[in-house]
C-alpha cells in the first residue's frame, strides 16, 4: 500500500503547493455565489492528496483556482497561494501561463472535450511540447511517441496520426495523461479523471497515474466523489462540503475512523459498508443551494447528530490527535457522542 510506504523524506519535505484560506465567489445574475470558503491545504512533492466531495462542494473550483483557470466572473481571495516558494497571486498572467502545462498540468473528467477534435493526437502533443521547449518537430514527434508509449497506448507510432474520435475513451484519457505529463510537471491535478470510464479501464488509468506520479516524483491533487478511488489513490484526504473543508487526515486515519459526520455519511452511503439487503445508511436531504447556505455548520440540516449549537455556531477546522483536523463541534465523534447519548 502506497501511503504506508511513502519515504520519510516526502513527509518532511517542504510543501510544493500551499493554499491558505482560499475563498472563491462567483458573480451571477442572481447574486454572489460563494463556491469556496476558507480552504487551506498543502501538497508535498510525490504526495497524492485526494479532495472528496459531491456536487456543489467546490472541488472542481479548487482545481481551477490552483491552475489559474477560473472564469472572469470569479473573485478569488487567499492569504496564501504558494507554488514552489513563489506567490501565484503576485505572478503576471504571462508567468502563470508558462507555469501551466510545464510545472503544473491538469487532466479532466471528459477527455473528449479536453482534446481538439480536428487535430491529430500527435500534432496536439507536439504543440504541447513546443509550447514550452524549443526543439525541432521531428524530435518533438519522437518525444510524443515516447510519451504515448509510456501511458501504455499500443502501437503509439500509429496512434499519433489518429484523431481523438478514432480512439476509445480509455485511450483518449491516456493520450490526455501523456499530454499532461509531457513536461514532467511538479504538480498534476486530476479532476475526476476516471468517472466517465468503465470500471476495468478505470483500474488501468488509476494504476497509470499512480505509477507515473511515483516515477516522476509528481505531486498529485486528485479530485473525486468516490471514496473507493480515494482509498486506492490517496496519501492524504480533504473532504469538502458546500465550499468548506470539513475534515482532513491521512487516508489510513480517515478510513480507520472518520471524524466528521459528513465523511461518515459518505462512507455509510457506500453499499460495501452496509449489510447486504438491509437499508443503506443514506445522508438525509440534499446538498444545499450555495446561495442559501444554512447558518452555523453547513452540514447541520442533514446531520443526525446536529443540535442547537450546530445550527448557530460555525465549527472551526480544529486539530485532533494524530495530525488530522475536523470541523465538527463533536469530534472525536465516538468519545464525545457516546457519552452524550
Amino acid at each position: 500500500m502506497k501511503h504506508m510506504t511513502l519515504p520519510d523524506s516526502v513527509m518532511t519535505a517542504p510543501p510544493l503547493l500551499t493554499v491558505e484560506n482560499l475563498s472563491v465567489t462567483f458573480r451571477t445574475d442572481s447574486g454572489p455565489l460563494p463556491a469556496l470558503d476558507g480552504i487551506s491545504l498543502s501538497i508535498r512533492p510525490g504526495e497524492t492528496v485526494a479532495v472528496v466531495g459531491e456536487s456543489g462542494s467546490g472541488k472542481s473550483v479548487l482545481s481551477l483556482a490552483v491552475m489559474g483557470l477560473l472564469p472572469p466572473t470569479a473573485e478569488l481571495t487567499a492569504s496564501g497561494l504558494i507554488f514552489d516558494g513563489e506567490d501565484l497571486q503576485a505572478m503576471s498572467k504571462r508567468t502563470r501561463r508558462d507555469l501551466r502545462g510545464r510545472d503544473m498540468a491538469m487532466i479532466f473528467q471528459e477527455p473528449s472535450t479536453a482534446l481538439n477534435p480536428v487535430q491529430r493526437i500527435g500534432d496536439q502533443l507536439i504543440e504541447a511540447i513546443r509550447l514550452h521547449e524549443d526543439i525541432p518537430t521531428p524530435k518533438a514527434r519522437a518525444r510524443a511517441i515516447e510519451a504515448l508509449a509510456a501511458t501504455g497506448i499500443p502501437s503509439p507510432e500509429l496512434r499519433v496520426r489518429a484523431y481523438p474520435h478514432e480512439l476509445s475513451g480509455g485511450m483518449r484519457q491516456r493520450a490526455l495523461i501523456a499530454m499532461a505529463l509531457i513536461h514532467r510537471p511538479r504538480l498534476l491535478i486530476a479532476d475526476e479523471p476516471t468517472t466517465a470510464l468503465d470500471v476495468t479501464v478505470q483500474a488501468q488509468i488509476l494504476d497509470l497515474i499512480r505509477d507515473l506520479a511515483r516515477d516522476n516524483g509528481t505531486a498529485t491533487l486528485f479530485i473525486t466523489h468516490d471514496m473507493g478511488v480515494v482509498a486506492e489513490m490517496a496519501d492524504r484526504v480533504a473532504v469538502l462540503y458546500a465550499g468548506r473543508m470539513v475534515e482532513t487526515a491521512s487516508a489510513s486515519d480517515l478510513f480507520e475512523s472518520p471524524e466528521h459526520p459528513y465523511t461518515l455519511g459518505l462512507l455509510g452511503s457506500m453499499p460495501q459498508l452496509n449489510q447486504r439487503g438491509a437499508a443503506m445508511l443514506p445522508i438525509a436531504g440534499t446538498v444545499p443551494d450555495l446561495r442559501q447556505m444554512p447558518p452555523g455548520c453547513h452540514f447541520h440540516p442533514r446531520c443526525p447528530f446536529a443540535d442547537h449549537r450546530c445550527a448557530t455556531q460555525r465549527p472551526d477546522l480544529r486539530p485532533l490527535a494524530g495530525n488530522r483536523r475536523s470541523a465538527c463541534h463533536y469530534a472525536p465523534l465516538l468519545e464525545t457522542l457516546e457519552t452524550r447519548a
Binding site: 445574475d29 442572481s30 463556491a35 459531491e54 456536487s55 456543489g56 472542481s60 466523489h225 443551494d289 450555495l290
Partner: protein, 283 residues
C-alpha cells in the same frame, strides 16, 4: 456533476427581452404601424381610390402631410391602406408557411422514415432563391390575395421546416420523449405535449425573422407588378408607381420605401433579440 441550477428558460428569456431597449422600440413601432393600418379609415378623411388629377404629385403640405401621388390621391392614406395589404399578405403568408413548415419539420423528426423524403423536397425548395420562387409562384397562380399569400407562405416555409426539424431532433434526443413513450402515450400526445411544447421556442424566433422576409417579398411582388392589381393600395406597387416620377416627385417612392424598410427592420430586430435571449450561452 454540474453546480449550475437550471431556472426555467421561459421566464429568463422574457427577463432578458424586457431588458433590451431595441425590443421595446421595434415592438412599439410595429404595433403603431399595425394599429394605424387597421384603423386607417378612421385616421384619415381621404379616400384611397378617388383620383384628383389636378392635385397630382403635390409635395407635403398641411393638407396632405406626405403630399399626393400621380393620381392626386393623399399619399399618407395610400400608405396606410397599402401597409394594410402588405402586412396582411406578410402575416397570413408567414402563418401559412409556419404551420406547414412546422408540421413538416416536426413530422420529419418524429417519423424518421419520412425524414429523407421530406427533407429532399425541402432541399429542392431551398435551392431556388425565394424571390424567384415567389415570382414564379405568383405568375403561375395568377393575381389575387390568396395566391399572393400562398406564394409568400411557400417561400418562407422551407426555412421554417428546416429549423423546426433541427429543434425537434434535439428534443427527440431527450430522455423524456422515451419516458412519454414508455408510459404508453399515443403519437399525437407525444407530438404535441412533448415534442412541440419543447421545440417551439427556436421555431417561434425564426418565424419572427421570417415575417420580415415575407413582408419584403410581398412588397417586391407588388413592386414588380405581380401583386394585387391597381388601384389596390400596396406598399410595393406604390413605390413602383412613384418610380416614374422619381426626379420631379421623389417623396412618393421614398415614403413607401422607408415604410417597408422600417417594418422589415423592426421584425428583424425583434427576431434577433428573441434569438439572443433564447440562447443561454449569451448572457
Amino acid at each position: 456533476m454540474t453546480d449550475a441550477t437550471y431556472t426555467g428558460s421561459g421566464s429568463r428569456t422574457w427577463r432578458r427581452l424586457r431588458r433590451n431597449p431595441m425590443v421595446t422600440i421595434a415592438l412599439g413601432v410595429l404595433i403603431l404601424i399595425a394599429l394605424a393600418a387597421i384603423f386607417a379609415p378612421w385616421l384619415t378623411s381621404f379616400d384611397p381610390y378617388e383620383t384628383a388629377l389636378r392635385q397630382r404629385l403635390k409635395p407635403p403640405s398641411a393638407e396632405h402631410l406626405l403630399g399626393t401621388d400621380s393620381q392626386g390621391r393623399d399619399l399618407l392614406t395610400r400608405l396606410l391602406y397599402g401597409a394594410r395589404t402588405t402586412l396582411l399578405i406578410g402575416c397570413a403568408g408567414t402563418a401559412f408557411g409556419a404551420l406547414l413548415g412546422g408540421a413538416i419539420g416536426l413530422c420529419a423528426a418524429f417519423y424518421r422514415r419520412l425524414d429523407g423524403v421530406f427533407m429532399r423536397v425541402i432541399d429542392v425548395f431551398l435551392s431556388f432563391p425565394s424571390i424567384l420562387f415567389g415570382l414564379s409562384l405568383a405568375a403561375i397562380l395568377g393575381p389575387g390575395l390568396d395566391s399572393l399569400i400562398i406564394a409568400v407562405g411557400l417561400s418562407v416555409m422551407p426555412g421554417i421546416a428546416r429549423i423546426s426539424r433541427g429543434a425537434a431532433l434535439s428534443v427527440m434526443a431527450q430522455d423524456y420523449m422515451d419516458s412519454g413513450r414508455s408510459i404508453g402515450l399515443p403519437d399525437r400526445s407525444l407530438l404535441g405535449r412533448y415534442l412541440l411544447a419543447n421545440a417551439y421556442p427556436p421555431i417561434l424566433t425564426y418565424t419572427t425573422l421570417a415575417f420580415g422576409d415575407a413582408v419584403l417579398l410581398a412588397a417586391t411582388l407588388g413592386f414588380l407588378g405581380l401583386g394585387l392589381q391597381p388601384p389596390t393600395a400596396e406598399l410595393g406597387s406604390i413605390a413602383a408607381e412613384g418610380r416614374s416620377f422619381l426626379f420631379i416627385a421623389p417623396h412618393v417612392s421614398t415614403a413607401a420605401s422607408i415604410l417597408i424598410f422600417v417594418i422589415v427592420l423592426s421584425f428583424n430586430l425583434l427576431g434577433d433579440a428573441l434569438r439572443d435571449a433564447g440562447d443561454r450561452r449569451a448572457s
